[in-house]
């Protein structure tokens, strides 16, 4: 497939809605709901307090208007997500043309 869209990656900081939800519990939930053209590149966690974790998800998406909003909306719809903010966006390169 030839794809001429650039691929960006956003680092999203996610606060789950309660204690005990870490990266491994979160990953399958996100994978299920991501829109077409978006995928998880990496997911990590940082323990905060009282069993709460911050999840950091690097999500790839196509560089087109509104694409990041769509990804954010999808993840935000998960009932396990309390707050989400994209803290950095970077250009990337990708395996297009394969």
């Amino acid at each position: 497939m030839i794809c001429n869209l650039k691929i960006l990656v956003a680092r999203m900081k996610i606060l789950p809605n309660g204690p005990g939800i870490n990266a491994s519990k979160f990953e399958p939930l996100i994978i299920d709901i991501l829109p077409d053209g978006a995928k998880i590149r990496q997911i990590t966690e940082e323990p905060i307090a009282f069993g709460l974790f911050t999840i950091f998800a690097d999500v790839e998406f196509e560089d087109k208007p509104g694409a990041l909003d769509v990804v954010e909306e999808c993840i935000n719809k998960l009932e396990q997500v309390s707050e989400l903010e994209t803290i950095a966006v970077s250009n990337t390169s990708t395996g297009v043309g394969e």
Binding site: L15, A49, E85, S90, T92, E98
Partner: protein, 435 residues
């Protein structure tokens, strides 16, 4: 690697200034990109007949026909190291959409490389009104980036010929631009480079003998890690608030300034609630005190989850966070389909908070290159304009002046899913009386 201080490095520049080539060549020379990928670039380069140096352009995905060949490489958030630091690279996308994330996001850039082409014509486009380099200079400053290197690129171009005279011409223009935005020129090295050939990226090379300054790589180690602002009064914007069984009310957030201690009584604004800090944890470890830069969760006594919320800011009772009713700001309009006039009401995003806010007065339009006033009381502002304006949030919102609390004094204005402007708070004109 673990013991070195870490810096986020953002690379910015107007389109076609050679940013991609600089990043690619640097990472190849630093061996961040694996040999197999480099070999593949070299092979493809040979096929094009453009020689070995062409491989660096392949590192980034900036040309359609290159990507169609199926070359794959991964550069986002790439890490590399120098003798003094660990760096994470952020290759800033051109989209203005992401400016809001850079401003309100917790993971801010610590240092920057601004790429400016030295090629006649290209330099002028980048730093002319509307040029992205001008906008980037302002935005980087707004993001709180205090350290920057300017790479004057394409010194190898035929029209430039590695000539000192051309570098000096560009340097004068860049310095004007930096000064206008408020950069301290003594702290911004302006380095002539060739992203294509590699001169002055890591090694000096043989083509720029007249230049006796540092290479980009050497200049990276002149960056400094800023001491966290622990001596300022406490400011702790809340990212979220939980009610945890057996514990109680648990807000989480990052201490932006000052210190935060167990046993201390604090005020939470604009909710105007007071509470006592019962316990603090970070990385699931209990601590008696947190200070600027710490991401923490803490248990508050005397306040319920429903009384406080994301966007609230915690401070000392005798020096509470300011809740602004009107403030004067310096903004740059990054995108607006028509023009901004008094009465325009976008949404202001600052730290963890957001609220509708009306631009009530356009005080003056500024020359972003000199900082001077271009026009008093302009009727409207367009994309690319820098200006001093007055803004009134429609509900209580915690903000501080950018000079006192940079982390609390920068903001983005958004409307219909787009970032309209970015700015900093110059002065607080009126505060809400919440008593």
């Amino acid at each position: 690697m673990a013991d070195k201080p870490h810096l986020n490095l953002i690379v910015a520049g107007h389109v076609d200034q050679g940013k991609s080539t600089i990043i690619g060549h640097l990472l190849v020379d630093l061996k961040v990109i694996d040999e197999r990928t480099i070999d593949k670039f070299a092979e493809e380069s040979e096929k094009t007949g453009k020689g070995d140096t062409f491989k660096y352009a392949w590192v980034m995905d900036n040309l359609k026909d290159e990507r169609e060949r199926g070359v794959t490489i991964d550069l986002a958030f790439k890490k590399f190291e120098t003798p003094k630091f660990d760096f994470t690279l952020i290759d800033a996308p051109g989209h203005r959409d992401f400016i809001k994330n850079m401003i309100t996001g917790a993971s801010e850039a610590d240092a920057a490389v601004l790429c400016v082409s030295g090629k006649p014509g290209e330099t002028e486009i980048a730093i002319a009104p509307g040029g992205q380099s001008r906008e980037h200079c302002f935005l980087l400053k707004t993001l709180g980036v205090k350290q920057m290197i300017v790479a004057v690129n394409k010194m190898d171009a035929n029209e430039v010929g590695y000539k000192k005279e051309r570098y000096e011409e560009v340097k004068v223009e860049v310095e004007k631009l930096l000064k206008g935005v408020g950069w301290d020129l003594s702290k911004v090295p302006i380095i002539p480079v060739s992203g294509w050939k590699g001169d002055n990226l890591i090694n000096k090379g043989d083509n720029l003998d007249w230049y006796d300054g540092k290479t980009i790589y050497q200049a990276f180690d002149d960056f400094e890690v800023e001491a966290p602002p622990v001596d300022k009064p406490l400011r702790l914007p809340l990212q979220d608030v939980y009610s945890i069984t057996g514990v109680g009310t648990v807000p989480v957030g990052r201490v932006e300034t000052g210190t935060f201690k167990v046993g201390e009584k604090v005020i939470i604004m604009p909710s105007n609630a007071t509470a006592e800090v019962k316990s603090i944890e970070s990385h699931h470890v209990e601590m008696q005190q947190a200070s600027a830069g710490d991401n923490i969760g803490f248990n508050l006594r005397g306040v319920d989850k429903k009384d406080i919320r994301r966007g609230d800011v915690i401070g000392p009772i005798d020096d509470p966070p300011k809740v602004v009713k009107e403030f004067t700001a310096q903004i740059i309009v990054v995108h607006h389909p028509t023009a901004i006039a008094p009465g325009y009401t976008p949404v202001i995003h600052a730290h963890t908070s957001q609220a509708a806010a009306t631009i009530t007065e356009l005080v003056s339009k500024l020359d972003a290159r000199t900082g001077g006033v271009l026009e008093e009381k302009p009727k409207a502002l367009k994309t690319g304009d820098a200006a001093i304006v007055k803004i009134q949030p429609l509900r209580p919102l915690c903000l501080e002046t950018f000079t006192e609390y940079p982390q609390m004094g920068r903001f983005a204005l958004r409307d219909m899913g787009t970032t309209i402007a970015a700015g900093v708070v110059k002065e607080i004109n009126a505060e809400w009386d919440l008593k």
